[in-house]
Symmetry: C2
Subunit: 485 residues, 2 copies
């Protein structure tokens, strides 16, 4: 298979979304399978996208007063088992270290599936007084959950993430913190990745094992399925009580602090692929694109090459003349390959703008500018382009967000009966706002029969009395049903 | 114990270096012990120092053409065992996952002690032609080595590090890469952490298991013991051959590529403590200090507080007037504690400059500036201070490096006989440059009898014929002996 065939060789998105996704991830070299079951290798291009969202999220987390820390990879079995719901939820997914240093261990060590248990035990000594609160911590690390069915980025046995863990003197403060975490995730998802989100509360069946309640942001992929993009949990006093954390409050009474935790993972690289991509591969939002503008020089003879190189140099110098221009991530592709090969290469990789600069462009002091998302082509004077590029990237970012939002809105439906939901799911698919009584039995029935779940009870779902579409009992408001990743 | 007692309460460095080190790490809240044997918790202040060196090293690694990637935490046993020396070296230290997802695994999975084995196996498909080389990758991750005796930061069962892995078409190129890695480490150690290094080659007994040769940088702590700060390995074709990596070279012949790997770890946080610290705790180099200048307001009455606050605001505004000034990390400590408490708090934490601003300072439009490293005290007009602070921090950074270099040089001795070495080790301690024949037997004898090892064969050790101090046979040059961490 000739390398030039990459873009035409990927599965069509409309024909087989899943096959398309795998092709894009592998052929754009975001990631690869590894020799370890369910674990992935993140390649440079995929890792650069992760670093970009990681950097942005880290800025939000620090700006809201959290500090980065590190806790051990291992959680002794006895600690994991302290919070009853927690261990029940995670035990089936845990990987256990039983031997080390040439010996069998006295106590098995879990590879952290998440760090609530070890953190609660560790901070006991740090939280003595109300003065030690709030304690606002964040960890960047790897976790392991033994998944049965894995998908590159979306669901892997090991994944990279950020997990925030906080402790507060009052429930009100902790509840505010749950909102702060979710807002960090909205900001990174919407403003950085151009992925519109729906904020809402999870049903009790879907909440985090050991939490009082869980909030999430939900997003729609191009196949109209939902993907949970981030969760923020109110842990109440559950872990603090189990670990025996107590502080002396202002009123001189010893109390258990209230905890929260919230996480955002490498799956968002996969979400970025699935929200913006098309039949030619990735379409990256400029903020997260490792390369924002690729310049492809076109020439045959040596003199042509020199003239083209000189024009590109002048353009880059002009661009670097302003701070915004200097910050633009430009790559000039001088590889010894045909222009067509390079177009395909960068198209597959979703670079927002391609600039073609050939002898005729040099003569006219212009470049041919091609926009990845709609392939529109425009001859633009080089000076003007240098001045306008930062604004054009900003507009491109906004355009992707708008396009994704419109897609989601035009695929979100209000349904009133169970039959409408079933027809919708089996027809176009999408998000379905439907009345539900609040009973886990009705929720489970829908899931068993259709594969759809309640993604969340959206915060902006208005009061609207209705009849539960399953059992006919009273419903307070519509909730969001969808099939999900 | 009153909190004010912190700095006077730490063990004196000169009396018990090891006790002093633990006190500083725990009481300055760099790290804490964890419920998991040999694993540590890195607290915010310690993690911020790690993030600072990590950021600087990442810039060097990227500037030299390497790209960040991620490989799995797990290494299947069969892969770890492919390179014979490698498995022999690491097997005793491996932690094994034997159960996961509720079942016993068919094949045990090692928690990576380092990633050569899994990387060599994974890149097979990526390296087909000389055009795919060099492959220059870097990973930021956690590794586990089951250590018998652990010390916070210096030697922990789990640690954080960076591991670079590269593949090259020729041995010459790979050898250059080994030097590039070592130079990144020199730059971060000397120019960022103000820790002078000695570059050299490890003896065969001390090289990385599976490498052809290993280079290292060696540093001297304040107790005159050595600490290996970073290593860079020429892997030759060993791992490539074991994994079956072959590429088609320009001459149309299939060949195994040459590999290198190099790593730098969280132990360097410990090194920073041990190279610069004193009886009052940490002394941080400004580049790596989370807080470079702490301002302690001094006041009794509310009017005084207002006047002091206003003066501090004006100072901060003036400082922010230049890009260099804006970049200075300043903290104003408004906590409801006594000035003495705050002096101790920040002294223990090694903040380079303390500014005391009280009513009399405000009247004189000045601050009392206290330099952490020598406690010198100086009244400086606030305007001048705002203008001079960036340069003063730079000078402070240079001063720490100079002080550490002078300490190392005045504790490095040329010895010609084994008895001189023994006397020196048991007397002042330090670095000992001594003649050695090159035989591993003599090396082992010294180690067995004195606890000292050959840290490296320094690159700047001149040709100097002599007699091996152990066996009397010919020696080409002096090598560096020391007791080490």
């Amino acid at each position: 298979m000739p390398k030039e065939g990459f873009v035409t060789s990927i599965t069509r998105q409309s024909e087989d979304f899943s096959g398309w996704y795998n092709d894009v991830v592998l052929k754009a070299q975001l990631a690869d399978y590894s020799p370890v079951r369910g674990c992935m290798i993140i390649r440079p291009y995929g890792y650069a996208i992760w670093e970009s969202m990681q950097g942005e999220l880290d800025r939000h987390i620090k700006a809201t007063g959290h500090e980065n820390v590190y806790f051990p990879l291992f959680v002794p079995r006895s600690l994991l088992e302290k919070e009853a719901e927690h261990v029940e939820g995670f035990n089936p997914q845990v990987a256990w270290v039983t031997h080390a240093g040439g010996k069998a261990l006295d106590e098995w060590l879990a590879i952290r599936p998440t760090s609530e248990a070890i953190i609660a035990d560790s901070v006991k000594d740090w939280i003595q007084s109300y003065r030690d609160l709030p304690l606002l911590m964040n960890l960047w690390n790897n976790v392991v959950r033994w998944e049965m069915r894995t998908r590159l980025f979306l669901r892997t046995t090991e994944f990279l993430w950020q997990e925030a863990h906080t402790f507060h003197a009052t429930q009100e403060e902790a509840a505010e913190e749950v909102a702060t975490g979710l807002e960090c995730y909205r900001a990174v998802s919407e403003d950085w990745l151009a992925i519109p989100v729906i904020k809402g509360r999870k049903t009790d069946s879907e909440k985090f094992p050991g939490a009082d309640w869980t909030w999430s942001i939900e997003t729609m992929m191009r196949d109209r399925k939902a993907l949970q993009a981030g969760t923020s949990h109110m842990l109440g006093q559950n872990f603090a009580r189990a670990a025996g954390i107590e502080f002396l409050d202002r009123d001189n009474v010893r109390k258990n602090p209230f905890g929260t935790s919230w996480g955002y993972t490498t799956r968002m690289v996969g979400a970025t692929v699935m929200v913006h991509g098309d039949d030619s591969g990735l379409v990256l939002p400029p903020n997260a694109a490792p390369v924002q503008v690729v310049i492809v020089p076109i020439f045959r003879k040596d003199e042509e090459r020199a003239a083209v190189a000189e024009a590109i140099d002048r353009f880059q110098a002009a661009l670097a003349g302003t701070p915004e221009g200097k910050a633009v991530r430009v790559k000039v592709d001088w590889r010894d390959e045909s222009p067509g090969f390079k177009y395909n290469h960068w198209e597959l990789r979703g670079v927002p703008f391609r600039m073609e600069v050939g002898p005729r462009d040099v003569a006219a002091n212009q470049a041919m500018l091609v926009k990845r998302v709609d392939r529109s082509k425009e001859a633009v004077p080089l000076d003007r382009l240098a001045a306008e590029l930062p604004a054009r990237l900003k507009a491109y970012q906004a355009e992707l967000f708008g396009r994704a939002l419109e897609f989601r809105e035009s695929n979100t439906f209000h349904v009133d009966t169970y039959q409408q939901l079933k027809d919708g799911l089996d027809g176009t698919g999408g998000f379905f706002m439907a009345p539900w009584c609040g009973d886990a039995k009705c929720e489970k029935q829908v899931n068993d029969e259709t594969g759809a779940t309640i993604r969340c009870i959206p915060f902006d779902s208005p009061d609207e009395k209705g009849k539960c579409m399953v059992c006919g009992r009273e419903s307070e408001r519509r909730v969001l049903f969808a099939r999900a990743y």
